[in-house]
């Protein structure tokens, strides 16, 4: 019985490439592709796959938040984060969200395949570069501050901040998150309050530094 996999990445051509690589192996079966976080969560709920390969930096609902939601709905699913960032905060947040592995996009495909095997065997997999970083932090007790700084904001607040930094208006964000404009305004206020940043420009820079959005 093949490993049932969902691929989530915002670039179709990347999804197709991954699918082909994965399906060269008869023990892997790609059951769905998702172009964004929302779809990934929905598909994971519907299909209960074995593994979800999640691109961390996606527009809208990002990979970290998507990881949380997927695991909230389907705790048995293994989430494999696929990222181009070896940024410490990304790694910490992703793993904290419950991902079973963190693979850099700069890895060979074989590494991803190995990661799938490992997480299916209830293990955890990190790309070597990530492992090194995590180990270094682990022994030096570092990373804690970074994590704390990052999580000043609640998941929802980060989500709103990300959309703001992507240029969406309050109204648009409200629509996307299916909440009222007033709710989004409250978040914006809390974000500004917490970060002590009072312009969209500064918030955008913060979001970029934190990896919530891309340049």
């Amino acid at each position: 019985m093949p490993v049932r996999i969902i691929i989530a990445d915002d670039h179709r051509i990347v999804r197709e490439g991954l699918r082909h690589l994965l399906e060269k192996r008869t023990d892997f079966k790609v059951v769905a592709e998702a172009p964004d976080g929302e779809s990934a969560v929905r598909l994971a709920k519907e299909l209960s796959p074995d593994v979800v390969i999640l691109d961390i930096s996606m527009p809208g609902l990002n990979g970290i938040e998507a990881t949380r939601r997927i695991l909230a709905e389907r705790p048995g699913v293994k989430v494999l984060a696929l990222s181009m960032h070896s940024d410490r905060r990304f790694v910490i947040e992703t793993l904290k969200a419950g991902a079973s592995g963190y693979v850099l996009k700069d890895s060979a495909f074989d590494e991803l395949a190995r990661a799938i095997e490992v997480v299916m065997a209830r293990g955890a997999f990190l790309s070597p570069a990530i492992t090194e970083m995590v180990v270094r932090d682990y022994v030096t007790q570092a990373g804690v501050d970074d994590a704390a700084a990052f999580s000043v904001l609640t998941p929802r607040e980060r989500e709103v901040l990300q959309l703001m930094a992507e240029g969406e208006s309050t109204k648009a964000i409200a629509g996307r998150l299916a909440v009222s404009v007033k709710t989004v305004e409250t978040y914006r206020q809390q974000i500004m309050e917490k970060l002590d940043l009072h312009s969209v420009a500064e918030l955008t820079k913060y979001a970029i530094r934190e990896g919530l959005t891309e340049l």
Copy 2:
């Protein structure tokens, strides 16, 4: 005789995916992969391929500059830009650099394959979304302005943009430049118009890319 192709993308797993998709076709042959712009230029010079598929956003030597260098060395090579941005300025600069095609990463692989066929037949290929944009600009005569606008924000406009990106309010900018608020507003409007960016978040990102402000 197959089409000889070089793939340049900074993510190995993406390169591998593309290679596999391309090599499913017997008439395509991937002769090399490059993880960055420099390698792409060097490999293109050494191997004189038929087509170079270039990711536009690569670290170091980016796709646009790489395109220029490749064509300077090997004018016969066809450069196909592969990009995740449908950003007007990227498109204009890339095409101006001499690329034969511009394919969005969000396209199906078949579209990329078609693009290769088209450029090999001495044609030009754009993803539909890009085509639409280019056509719209073309008929409205806008593209011309925008192309110029890439570098032709006037000094004063750049100054205003920089201050905006640093988080200053319109009023603060007016005070700093010792002009009226209305004047600054006019600049802001012209900047947004020229760059086709309509949120402070996007303007900030632009300013960072242009080196007008620091992250």
